[in-house]
Symmetry: C2
Amino acid sequence: MKQSRTFIPTMREIPTDADIASHQLLLRAGYIRQHMSGVYSFLPLSKKVLRKIENIIREEMESIDAVEVLLPTLQQSELWEETGRWHAYGPELFRIKDRHYRQMALGPTHEEVITSLVRDEVKSYKKLPLTLFQIQTKFRDEKRPRYGLLRGREFIMKDAYSFHSTEESLEEKYSEMKQAYSNIFSRLGLNFRAVIADGGTIGGKGTHEFMALSEIGEDTIAYSDSSQYAANIEMAEVNTDYVKPTEALKELEKVETPDQHTIADVADFLGVEPSKVIKTLIFKVNDELIVVLSRGDHDINEIKLKNALNAPDAILASEAEIEEMLSCKVGSIGPVKLPLDLKVYADHAVKEMVNGVCGANEDGFHLRNANPERDFAIDRFLDIRFIKEGDPSPDGNGTIRFAKGIELGHIFKLGNTYSEAMKATYLDENGVSQPFLMGCYGIGVSRILAAIADQYNDANGLKWPKELSPFDVHLITVNMKDEVQTKLSDELYHLLKSYRYDILHDDRDERAGVKFTDADLIGLPIRITIGKKAQEGIVEVKFRETGETVEWQKEEITEKLQAFFG
Amino acid sequence: MKQSRTFIPTMREIPTDADIASHQLLLRAGYIRQHMSGVYSFLPLSKKVLRKIENIIREEMESIDAVEVLLPTLQQSELWEETGRWHAYGPELFRIKDRHYRQMALGPTHEEVITSLVRDEVKSYKKLPLTLFQIQTKFRDEKRPRYGLLRGREFIMKDAYSFHSTEESLEEKYSEMKQAYSNIFSRLGLNFRAVIADGGTIGGKGTHEFMALSEIGEDTIAYSDSSQYAANIEMAEVNTDYVKPTEALKELEKVETPDQHTIADVADFLGVEPSKVIKTLIFKVNDELIVVLSRGDHDINEIKLKNALNAPDAILASEAEIEEMLSCKVGSIGPVKLPLDLKVYADHAVKEMVNGVCGANEDGFHLRNANPERDFAIDRFLDIRFIKEGDPSPDGNGTIRFAKGIELGHIFKLGNTYSEAMKATYLDENGVSQPFLMGCYGIGVSRILAAIADQYNDANGLKWPKELSPFDVHLITVNMKDEVQTKLSDELYHLLKSYRYDILHDDRDERAGVKFTDADLIGLPIRITIGKKAQEGIVEVKFRETGETVEWQKEEITEKLQAFFG
């Protein structure tokens, strides 16, 4: 492709409306342009990368018998009403009326549409399992679109849905998907983790997120430094093999702690480690106030708490609620001598505490040497704290470290949530009607583009991995008015094309400096410059990844390229 | 692909909601399903065909330096207001409000978006010409969606836009596009014509439609039986080499014609051919009444009339308006002795009429031997009649025939209509600001699927051309419980895959009759059946196109397939 005939509007300035490097670079290197908030045009370079990403995804999907379809963007509101999501989805669902005033949704996801399609067409267990996927533009009216392609209102997704008659079949497809996703992100060259995740509003029991590691990630991942274990910190289980100190139990003692409210204050004032303090919180769960205990150096994870109690949510009680019940301030509450009807839950770590410090339920006082089960009863011990860096990995291998991540993929075991709501059933071997078991599996295709730009760049521009680069080779003719240079350029262009390399030829009438700066921005893996040494049949070659520059004789170019591209 | 693992919901009944054969077959053979009026799901078979169509289009676009992009579906209403189309487009434009109550359009076409993009990024003539294309789902809220994929509300299009600094450059790209479109439709195996067309609301001067010939077409094409000439009958020019009869002019004579109102009645009553009658019509053009004359066997084409007069429209005057002006009924008007201020226009054919019959502007009377220029003046002769079957072709080669067509593609020279409205300019060689010259070029991708189904079918189902068939070979195992059959099937499946054939293997536990009926419906070009003769290494082969059935030895299969697929 001649650069003069394509459309790569590079920019010298850093665009002021882009706040992260990957977004700035995709704009500056002429890959994308914003049309309006959260809505982008994919220019020729990014369209080529998207097609490569899509082909990798397509190959991996087809390798596990997922079959490609294309479902409608315009979706009947009636189907969304069947699942209750017409209301539950909220303002993120774009709604539109047609000329007959019929309500429709612009598809942000396709559970309803595909369940309705399969409900109409698949009547027997004999046609299961069935896995369908599509690669399609989706719409979600984000409250605050940001980070360019990372959080847009119009974006490209791969979504897949599987239908099963047995749990085993769903399990099998789920683990095939998990493997296929790992293959995809590995082939894309991404530094990623498969992370145990929360199902969120889409529902479902088993679920993994595939996260690209990134400093700008909005999620925190807890991962083992020595195994494959990784989980969203909101979901990470904690290894509960705490060692109980051997020290002897001492007598409970009430001490004055004037104006000491926080764990740190109290520990400091009493000269103990925060891990010696029993943190006492009051939550409202299912409209009931409960007491929740943890070690002073641990934090309660509200998502784990609500999941452990099987409640829709767990919210901290207000100061007023607490004072009304215990007649003391938040900073002074503790588990000893609480009203009898209050349920007490504690994190597993509390069980192994000895001679702890806790509030005395009296302003200005704490208790020393409080011991669980001797001084206060606990209804249930639960795994309800946030995992910490340095904790042992829950899988028993290695130590937990934290990283930030960008969610690129998400796989769910939906079970029969959607099929029951939509009365989507098949006849089993005994002729009995059963709801389908379902899985759903998404990948943010346009988001991948941003994640790769995030992981592959330097101060001068993008640095595409070979497999995804929009072109293989950037061929630069320094002086388009020099016949020797243009002749060698043409010769090389046709030679390399005959070797099936995809070449971007900078044939523009621009200064060499402009061409080099643009080439670094665009970031093709290898740059071949035809300059003054063209007369001697010598070209200059720059490897974008390392910055290394060498000279090649024109006769050795194809061989050396083959060695580079492998 | 194993048929048991994919999704091909065939139907035995003819769906009652589908009124044309191609639509019925695409439904029955499990290629598509309707989601709601004018909105379809593309199931696995049609998705594969779509990809093949798209790849052919992509290759031909790239061969003429058109570069692929992907523009947004959600479009700023402000841009549509710049061109005036926010109002002019009417209810066919889907309009949507986001959560901040901002108005947007769902893209039915992308002139506004691309002009705005190029306006922002291309500032110099040096970057021209530039041609961009995309393949994308489009939205148009059709009043009456019908014929399945032929007139939908959500459909796939290829749209391309070119930008130029000179008329010559636009001309050149237009003719490259015309050739590329011919290549595309030829490669798709379609019986089509490139037809001179009307620009319609999109504007533009030069324009061709690419029409698939079809009995269910909504447009009529006039084409030459001996050349490439073809035009929409609304636009077809007429060859004006009329031969003037040699008969001598006779005296004008008034005759009684009681109750004779139509051309046929009058001709019959007076014993002359209709071609001897001068048809006189009164039109209202630019708020003025005008007289329009044609030969009695010709029909006035209102589109040609308004174009010839450069008027927004040309409407027949009402009876009341005519009677008020001429004091006689419509059936009795004629060009002789009309009020002096009435303009008279005539089709070229009238010039060569001798001793014609016309109304006498008096109820119940006509004139014989009326001769133009002797008995009545004509302001201008114009080419304003509809072409007729049997007319000589306007290009001088052959005779005109009519056919019905389905519009698949449309190319336009837009000129500067959009760039002027949107103030999209570049600096020319002299540093002077100029509006871009533009072309736009569309193809209905999903509509092509229907057009091929329309041209390739028989009573039993579809008959895909080899290049577009979703699979190359339908491999049918008659009895999945017969080990000899399944073993030979597996062996062949892998052998043919190794030869890069794409195979649909009917491995379902169904009766042979069901499998054969489905295979005919689905319509792959070649069917290989493994049945009782598997033991002897013999398979049955059926060619879908001809219906011919032969037996092949398994050893000769690859060679014979190669001969078939070429």
